[in-house]
Amino acid sequence: MNPSLTWNLVSDVRQLFVYPFMVNALEAGTIVAVLAAVTGWFVVLRRQTFAAHALSVMSFPGASAAALAGIALPIGYFAACTAAALAIAAGSRTQHRRNPAQESAVIATVEVVGFALGFLFLSLYGGVLESLESLLFGSFLGITSTQVLSLLGIALVTLALFGVAGRPLLASSIDDLMARARGVPVRLLEVSFLVVLGCAVGATAQITGVLLVFALLVAPAAAAQELTSRIGLGLALSVTIALLVIWVALGLAYYTNYSVGFYVSSIAFAVYLAARLRRRFWHRDPRGINIETATVAA
């Protein structure tokens, strides 16, 4: 295979769909982008990016444990992510309430234990994790249609959960004491969110790699929240940005020699930077208020 870019955009795009592996990559990328963008919107609102990071790192002990046990690597990812999510949720409460200060210490500790176990499993396994580089930095080669289907399943279940519990989760993210007083099961939502986050991170890492998960999980959502403070529009923007990032990145990776992870991260960074600059310099009146949002009130 030796695809090359021409000046004919239509034929360039058509070429993308010639090989089945590329079709799989585009399908998987699309699914993961939607999943990561919606989950990420809540991560940014709840300020749990560090938790997301620790959960993404759990792919390492998960994969090496799976290699040791001789089972499929994704099963290892998801099991490790879920275990870590439960540990973080359990350790981050004081006075019957989520304590963000304690949470960050617990997350760091969980992350270290994850790494330690990963190295232990790897040395017990004795071999070399051939896929280590793609585990860390992502790969769009060799995504099977079975993998696409399992990602679709995870995404559908996760999005359905957000559909059902999104509003109470939003209410308790903004004011947990009020939500608790009104009978919202705040604790259950906190734990469930971390487990869902673990699954979303595990799914996203299969495209972006463990280290670059934030390119789809956090950057599009953070950019969207810079651009608007509306809830529905923010979610829609987050999904749109994530889709654009993954599509452009896959297209560029297909035609060039650089990894998809590099493109995903650079494009996501550029979009976030642009969103920050727009909020900083654009649409402001002398009181420092976004004209966009001020006119909404009128």
């Binding site: 609102l45 509003r167 007083a181 009978g183 909404v296």
Partner: protein, 275 residues
């Protein structure tokens, strides 16, 4: 006053209530009766158990002994008739949610399921609540970009939107400057009159509330004392409560200054330790 014309059950009644947190008594043997439509200031030093009183009324905490009735039922049985504003720190500019959306969460934020596209009903209720607190100029803005006073008005609108009969406001004047403290106190009083709700407002300083309060509940020294402000905030009563000499001074402009009240013991500072 509405309270006198209504012979029905009190809005809040505590009889012989003793409460503990983590095995330690917070306060003992409290008897408090609050009539419907009253404006009540809950006063006392930090950590004396003012928020604990609200937790009891919300049914989040059970008393060790004694009985509590809230709007004629048990605590927690009529949560939809209570508007609760927890003590909190201000939203900073990174919280990118519009004020209007936060107000709406007071109406349907606890519901599971996908929110339908805005029906006319909720939108109208949201607008009314925002108008009531005078926040329509900035409700469309991201809440983190609103000033402390503006945020507090929006949060009060959130508690009002479910048309509650009882408002429990935990330190809504905290972290506001003096003009805003007076303005928010006046706003709460106007809402109390217009909507006929009963208000329990936890505060550090009674002065912004003095023009409006019918009753004060003083929580200090492991005890709770309720009565008219002129009966409770006196040298004699407060000295008895604290079991040490306390002096109440009245300044020339009518403000009350309490001198010599001891600090609360450290182990009671549960609710005031925020991360």
């Amino acid at each position: 006053m509405t309270a006198l014309s209504q012979p029905e059950a009190p809005a809040v009644e505590l009889r012989g209530v003793t409460v503990e947190r983590d095995g330690r008594p917070v306060w003992r043997n409290a008897d408090v009766r609050i009539e419907q439509g009253e404006f009540v200031a809950v006063l006392g030093p930090n950590g004396a158990g003012k928020s604990t009183l609200l937790d009891l009324l919300l049914g989040l905490l059970r008393p060790t002994t004694g009985s509590i009735s809230v709007l004629g039922g048990g605590p927690g049985s009529n949560g939809d008739q209570i508007g609760y504003l927890p003590q909190r720190h201000a939203f900073d500019s990174t919280t990118r949610i519009r004020g209007v959306d936060i107000v709406r969460l007071g109406l349907d934020g606890t519901r599971f399921g996908l929110p339908l596209p805005w029906r006319k009903g909720p939108r109208e209720e949201v607008r009314k609540a925002i108008d009531l607190v005078g926040a329509s100029d900035y409700a469309g803005r991201s809440i983190g970009e609103c000033s402390g006073g503006e945020q507090q008005r929006l949060l009060i609108a959130r508690t009002l939107i479910s048309a509650p009969r009882l408002l429990l406001l935990d330190e809504p004047l905290d972290s506001l400057d003096l003009p805003n403290q007076s303005a928010v106190a006046a706003l709460v009083n106007r809402i109390r009159r217009q909507q006929g709700v009963t208000v329990l407002l936890v505060a550090h300083d009674v002065n912004p509330l003095l023009p409006y309060v019918d009753r004060v509940v003083y929580v200090a020294g492991g005890r709770v004392l309720a009565g008219k402000p002129e009966d409770v905030i006196t040298n004699q009563t407060l000295s008895d409560l604290y079991e040490s000499p306390v002096e109440v001074l009245r300044t020339s402009d009518g403000r009350l200054v309490v001198v010599g009240q001891p600090e609360a013991p450290a182990h009671h500072s549960d609710r005031h330790h925020h991360p």
